[in-house]
Amino acid sequence: MVQPGEEAGLKEKIVAIFVWIAPAVTRELITSLPNLRVVGNCAVGYDHVDLAACAERGVRVGYTPNVLNKTTADMAWALLLASGRKVVEGDSISKNPSTSTFDSNWMGQQVSGTTLGIVGMGRIGYEIAKRAVGFEMKVLYHNRHRKSAEEEERVGATYVPTLAGLLGESDYVVLAAPATGDTHHMMSREQFAAMKPTGVFVNISRGTLVDQDALAEALRGGVISAAGLDVTDPEPLPRDHTLLSLPNLTLTPHTGSATLPTRQAMVQMTVDNIKAVLQGQPMVNEVALPSL
């Protein structure tokens, strides 16, 4: 712990940063640390790290892919099922002191036998697709590049060349794409309108991929039936944000990877990434920096 008055000289001592998905590792922070050599990002997304600034300063960046695939896919399914089958609302009804009978006609959406649309068939998207087979769901996916026939066959997924095409055919849409310049607000008014009115939207990637005003309107207006979000923009949302008052929205505060074994693995990987750089060893999980 730094004692008051000890800050002077501290900036020169820092050679590594260990960071979760917040705070952002900005150009300002990076340039204020003259001897910084490595940013150990304890997450698979690195959109909060200024990679250009790192490249300019010769700072390397590690991240934690793969160890969180299954745990995050479980969370996507927890949100999908909770949203479709109204778990949170149902729990509130059961615990509400004014509830005296259960309305037999208060119902959720069917899951089994419906169509799951995965937007972003990366490592996590693949794990999400795998779980759908138990529910006898048809699996569609949209991705920048089509996967190989063998990869498609392994999870029984069918490629849809346009996002709109996937949205129109899916009962459940799960977004698992990275945050890049191309994906900013990729889900906006037009996209929610393309979904079925019974459709359920789940986002476990990054909040910036969704136009939140458009989502709130779509949920309020019955354009889609429900949504589940593990990520928002910003995180946290302001306490009076419109999304927080919607009964058909299930929110979790970015806990997609939050189990002990997965967090342990992520921390270990981040420490290993940092040590590798400081000891002059190859970094196993390194983010490719933009060329200058």
Partner: protein
């Protein structure tokens, strides 16, 4: 025709001397006094099979919601609004993938749950009165004793019908056998679980959490101590609650009812008609 679980008692049956058929919209018929129906030759029908997948879906919904702290997250984010900054140390849950699921009573619904669980790479154990080696082969599930299932499972789900034998099947002794990190899911009938024993077990940390779609009574009184715990999810009997499934159940129940009125074989009968024409 019954939709919901109001008891169809001997007294109620006695008020209708011309009653020919009782058609239950649902698979469980423990609320119908079948003995009285048998004595009076009244047909009883139900809607098995059609709701197995949807009920299995709800089982997985409750299992995952409890495992990943969906309701505590709701309280943190939307109710108490304590979500002020990113905290990597809050709301840690438990992995479902590669965990061990114990299915108590593997009938049609249990079978459907096993299928879903295997897609999450769960190890699936089951206990059932009659072993099903064909299902073991088909699904990759393992047969164990009831005690062993309770001892080693990370998640225990109940899919038994309610009978005298299964009343309070899960009580103090059974909860004590379970792992301290285990989660119990009851989507069968409320009385299968001793609710006060469940409350004690949760309060003392003998198990980690529970999710129930059914209670005793239903609805459970909202001042019941079980509802005061933040690691209990209570759903208002949503097992088969989707429009598609309820429509199919209603159609089956109508077919049963019409057959019963005509004195014909019920397509999905618990008791077939047996009254003088």
């Amino acid at each position: 025709m019954t939709y919901g679980h109001e008891p169809v008692s001997p007294e109620m049956i006695a008020t209708s001397p011309n009653l020919k058929a009782i058609s239950v919209v649902g698979v469980g018929y423990d609320h119908v006094h079948v003995e009285t129906c048998r004595e009076r030759g009244i047909a009883v029908g139900h809607t098995p099979g059609i709701l197995s997948d949807t009920t299995a879906d709800m089982t997985m919904a409750l299992l995952l919601a409890t495992a990943r702290n969906i309701v505590p997250a709701y309280n943190h984010v939307q109710v108490s609004k304590q979500w002020k900054y990113y905290d990597p140390n809050i709301l840690w849950g438990t992995d479902v993938h590669h965990a061990t699921l114990g299915i108590v009573g593997m009938g049609r619904i249990g079978h459907a749950v096993a299928k879903r669980a295997r897609a999450f790479d769960m190890r699936v154990l089951y206990y059932k009165r009659e072993r099903r080696p064909d299902w073991e082969e088909e699904l990759g599930v393992e047969y164990v004793t009831f005690e062993n299932l309770l001892e080693v499972s990370d998640f225990v789900t109940l899919h038994v019908p309610l009978t005298e034998e299964t009343t309070h099947l899960i009580g103090e002794a059974e909860l004590a056998l379970m792992k301290k990190t285990a989660i119990l899911v009851n989507i069968a009938r409320g009385p299968v679980v001793d609710h006060y024993a469940l409350y004690d077990a949760l309060k003392q940390g003998q198990i980690a959490g529970a999710a129930v779609d059914v209670t005793e009574p239903e609805p459970i009184n909202t001042d019941h101590p079980l509802l005061s715990l933040d690691n209990v999810i209570v759903a208002p009997h949503l097992g088969s609650a989707t429009v598609q499934t309820r429509m199919k159940m209603a159609t089956m129940a109508m077919e049963n009812l019409l057959a019963g009125l005509k004195g014909e074989q019920l397509p999905y009968g618990v008791l077939q008609p047996n009254f003088p024409r």
